[in-house]
């Protein structure tokens, strides 16, 4: 057997400009100490970088360093919500677009009543929702109604053009993703809160298909959502993904799902 090859550490190895087709990405390593506060101060004009990390398996509510001593045994302040994000006001109507792609619902808005997401469009479209509940990933895909984790007490329900989230169980909901299936995309995904606030995620008509050609069905990922320190952070994605829900799942890190085909997960849902 030949001598073992030198193993290079990616963080200190010299760059390889000749390998332009390869890129190194690092995933933050899991840490035992409290999660760092994400700095999401808005950058100079330009696309907002996606800085929300993969959903942690355990919500860490440890207080930030330097927090005051608790007033009673075991009582600690809640970790502050992510800074620099647009906050949805009560009863507010807000359009999520290039200028404001991300919004944060407070802990009260994220925990009272339910969230209702309605696809309002005249174009034939189907809805799908990927989710992570209690550490388990799954997908609901129309046109049949679907309920997760089960029919008896669903946290996520999909019926026709509507998705409902029961926020009584928001603590089990780590993240979710809404995709629209169609040959072209037009209309709005509307998110309504119990306090009467309304988020609108417009879907632009797909202009990439030459007029008159038979366009294949693709998925437009309209909205991603993550629960961070008890608050739901919603982001307009406006991303067309080809290759079925399997590719959508892969693109957004829902990697625990296994697939029978491009659109059908194993075990059904």
């Amino acid at each position: 057997m030949s001598a073992p090859a030198t193993v290079l550490d990616p963080t200190t190895a010299p760059p390889r400009p000749d390998l332009a087709f390869l890129r190194h990405r690092a995933r933050p390593r899991p840490v035992a100490e409290p999660a760092p506060v994400l700095d999401l101060t808005p950058p100079a004009p330009g696309p907002v970088a996606s800085v929300v990390p993969a959903a942690p398996a355990v919500l860490d509510l440890a207080p930030p360093a330097g927090a005051a001593a608790p007033a009673a045994p075991g009582r600690e302040p809640l970790a502050p919500l992510l800074g620099g994000l647009r906050r949805l006001g009560p009863g507010e109507r807000l359009v999520l677009d290039d200028d404001t792609p991300v919004v944060q619902l407070g802990r009260v808005t994220s925990g009272v009543g339910g969230l209702v997401l309605t696809l309002e469009t005249a174009v034939p479209s189907g809805l799908a929702v990927l989710y992570e509940l209690g550490g388990t990933q799954g997908v609901l895909r129309g046109p049949e109604p679907g309920f997760a984790p089960d029919h008896r007490r669903p946290v996520v329900s999909l019926t026709g053009n509507k998705i409902q989230l029961d926020l009584r169980l928001v603590r089990d909901l780590e993240r979710f993703l809404v995709a629209v299936r169609g040959t072209r995309f037009d209309g709005v995904l509307v998110v309504r809160t119990v306090g009467g606030a309304r988020l609108e995620v417009p879907m632009r008509t797909d202009t990439r298909t030459p007029a008159g050609s038979a366009a294949p069905s693709t998925d437009l990922v309209a909205l991603s959502a993550y629960r961070v320190r008890g608050a739901l952070v919603l982001r307009a994605e406006d991303l067309v993904v080809e290759g079925g829900l399997r590719e959508v799942a892969g693109a957004f890190g829902y990697r625990e799902l296994t697939w029978r085909s491009a659109d059908t997960p194993l075990g059904g849902s």
Partner: protein
Amino acid sequence: MTGMVRGANIALTKELPDLARLALGVSWDAGADDALVENLVLAAILCDADGRATSPDDFVFFNQAVSTDLSVAEVESALGDDAEQIEVDLAAVPAAVARVVVVLYVNEGSPRRRTLGQLRECRVRLLDASSSTQVVASENLAPAFQHETAVVLGEVYRHRDDWKFKVVGQGYSSGIVGVAEQYGLPL
């Protein structure tokens, strides 16, 4: 057991000068109605002297389990037989907070609609959290419930230099949305 009727009040710190931490607990009997029990939520609203919520961050419930000043917190394991409890550290309550309003509501996030009228029994009680002993309990508030989906159970409130507690038992058929509007709490 009869208990304190709606509208009755008790001078807490006058009668119990050593009372520092109290727990407000709710107990209920919903029979076999799991769908109701699963959606019942106990919450506290910290209010100013005008009866308005001091801030949206001072609505204490399962998803925001402690107020910003740490004076009011949702208790993870309730003392005694109560289903849920809210704990109040009287000395830590800021001067701007004149009342801690305790609410029980049915979270309406699923298609299975339930009302408080389906409860057979519902009582609010107050305990000395340091000793886990009951100070006072309300009468059964359930018989008056019909289509309401929220009820203000009671209030711990300042009266001059003292703290008092009163049983309210005011139901809202408009649910937590109606309660929030009443107390100026943004949802």
